[in-house]
Amino acid sequence: MSKFIEQERIIEALLFSSQDPVSIKRLVNILPKNSEVDTIIANLQKKYEGRGINIKRSGAFISFRTAKDLEYLFNEVKVQKKSLSRAARETLTIIAYHQPVTKLEIEEIRGVSVASGTIDSLMELEWIKLGRRKNTPGRPLTFQVTEKFLDYFDLSSTKDLPGLKEMKDLGISVNKVNQKFEDG
């Protein structure tokens, strides 16, 4: 039996009783001082591997979630989310791949301005939030994705996004293009 058994029990109980992911920070506060929280979580993750419920880590949060291969059990319960507009999906994708990213940068990539409803709807879903200001003229605010976004799409961090490198390589700044167009 693990020497961390009491800590594991506490984490199990907390995760079970919460629908939303629990922050690691919170666990650190609740667990006895000097607990090796990361090790305990890793052990626990291993323990639940291959079981009907697994332990997921998204960013600085962890949660219990049903195993993905058992989705057939829930066919009746499935709630299809109302589908997002194309603008919202594209905006979300750009934020996820390029975060932290400014509104102007999103507009440059999409070639159109971002309608206000778009940002609001993503904020309402709590999939995006404001990030730090960028150190460029005007110090614009940036957008970034949330833990809830990661949780929803079953990602443990934005580093897990498919094709991240390809997207990064294509870059975001297109000022050059516009300038060329303008100076001819």
């Binding site: 594209e90 750009i94 159109v112 939030k129």
Partner: protein, 261 residues
Amino acid sequence: MNNNSQEIKTTQYIEEREQTGFCLNLDGYEGPLDLLLSLAKNQKVDLKKIQLALLADQYLEYIKEVKDKVKLDLLADYLVVASWLTFLKSKLIIPEEEINEDNVEKINELLALRLQRLEAVRKYEDLLFSRKKLGENFFASGTPREVEVIKDDIITLDFIDLLRSYLLIGNKKNIQFSLDNKKNYLFLESAISFIEKKLLANKDWMLIQDLVREIHTKSGAQIKSCLASMFCGSLEFVKSGKIELRQSNVFGDISLLGRNK
């Protein structure tokens, strides 16, 4: 599989266009870049090798067809791009020795890059949304505690929440208050006369911060307002050619130099 779905999407796009011909409302496109991308895909070549001249023709033709059928404001963006393309095309058909070929090539490349980028967003958007999703493919605990546990509610506060709660206070009291600390402002006229005096007295480069600090001490106006007015004032003098402004890098120091006699 991913390539496949991409292909299906593309063909759908093309079919849609073919069916509706040029009656398609521009609303269907998310801006000129989107339209350009779908036209470029019709060329059925690698996006890196698109032919700008051909693309420009297609685009212009399309715009000509729809321009009477859509709202003007919507069209504005499209017309800007149309004028770019017209301009670029004119460069392309001018006899070779007269144009800087490098330049045209570069523009072609950059346009291709923009299209590739938008295409990549589309591709990964599809991949993202085809992932297993919470509440659809996997599930959270169905028996959360009665007391809404977890989420230490302080943790979820962000500064939009702060701003909202601030505005709520305003609404409650039915008053409007400003987020700025409205104290003393330095008027532009005072800044201008101050700069003028300084110009007469000085023949060297001066740091604008030093001037700002000086007038801030003298006038007691807010430092921010001092900076803004001093900067605006300097621009007035630049316009009339009386001073020169210099800033070596972004956020770097700004200095000014009088140029008259």
